[in-house]
């Protein structure tokens, strides 16, 4: 189980992006909470937008990686 988890969601695997997205979500949520609490609503909105952009970038890079694996696979390179 541990080995499988490491293989699928380890730092250099495509599955790591899922963990990264959760961490981004939680981080931005906490950031938003803090900035809203101290009355900085604009910064809160910026954190939210920035997080979304970061998430999209992370996913695009992983999708690229997955597509490369897929095409290598279909050409019998794996």
């Amino acid at each position: 189980m541990g080995e499988a988890a490491k293989q699928a969601f380890g730092p250099s695997s495509p599955g790591f992006v899922i963990i990264l997205l959760v961490m981004l979500g939680v981080g931005s949520y906490l950031g938003e909470m803090i900035t809203t609490a101290i009355g900085k609503g604009q910064i809160s909105a910026m954190i939210r937008t920035g997080t979304l952009f970061s998430a999209i970038l992370a996913v695009v890079s992983v999708v690229w990686k997955l597509l490369t694996i897929f095409f290598n696979f279909t050409q019998g390179k794996m």
Binding site: A4, A5, A8, F9, P14, G15, V17, I18, I19, L21, V22, L24, G25, V26, S28, Y29, T51, L52, A55, I56, V59, V62, V63, L66, I69, F70, F73, M78
Partner: protein, 195 residues
């Protein structure tokens, strides 16, 4: 197979947990990205894990097909397809005529009768433009008097592959296909093999 189920389930569970957390903290867009990545990962895992299984079954089916083919080649159970639609105008005669003549108009498609490999595409003074296909186990088929060919030496063919066009070349008096089957170099009656 069990590995595939485990991998897909594992990916699904982790993604589901991530999705639930993100929805709970009102990050719906990021949660949707998680689903997208999860689906792609599941597809990739499926491909990687099931390929050895598919290859194993494919090898078994190939082996069965080869066995069936060898048996039908040996017994000649009328499993070969006709090379061209048309009336048989002359049958096999062991001394005078070493194959079948099938009437047809110039340009009608001529098809391979069985799986094999093209070994000859050439001109012959008697057969005109001719094609020979090797079917293994010493069996060959010959297609003569063609007006054109659409295959080259070394090409693999299956039953029904268009290999050339009916014609009137060589020692021929009228458009037709001359079709022979040879076993270890000796002409035999094609009707023994044809459906």
């Amino acid at each position: 197979m069990a590995k595939w189920i485990f991998d897909v389930l594992f990916t699904g569970v982790v993604s589901f947990v991530a999705y639930v957390i993100l929805i709970a903290i009102e990050r719906k867009q990021i949660a949707n990205l998680v689903i997208m990545v999860a689906v792609m990962m599941a597809l990739l895992v499926t491909m990687q894990d099931l390929t050895p299984v598919i290859e194993k079954w494919s090898a078994r089916i190939d082996s069965l097909q080869n066995t069936a083919e060898n048996i039908s080649n040996i017994t000649g159970n009328k499993s070969w397809t006709m090379p061209m639609k048309g009336e048989i105008t002359q049958n096999f005669k062991s001394k005078d005529h070493h194959g079948l003549d099938i009437a047809g108009v110039v340009g009608m498609p001529v098809e391979a009768t069985r799986k094999g490999q093209v070994t000859r595409v050439e001109w012959n003074d008697i057969y005109g433009n001719m094609i020979v296909i090797d079917h293994g186990n010493g069996l060959e088929s010959l297609y003569g008097h063609l007006s054109g060919s659409s295959v080259k030496v070394g090409w693999p063919v299956i039953a029904g592959t268009k290999i050339g066009l009916c014609g009137n070349t060589g020692n021929s008096f009228g458009s037709h296909l001359h079709f022979e089957i040879r076993k270890n170099g000796t002409c035999i009656d094609p009707m023994y093999y044809l459906k």
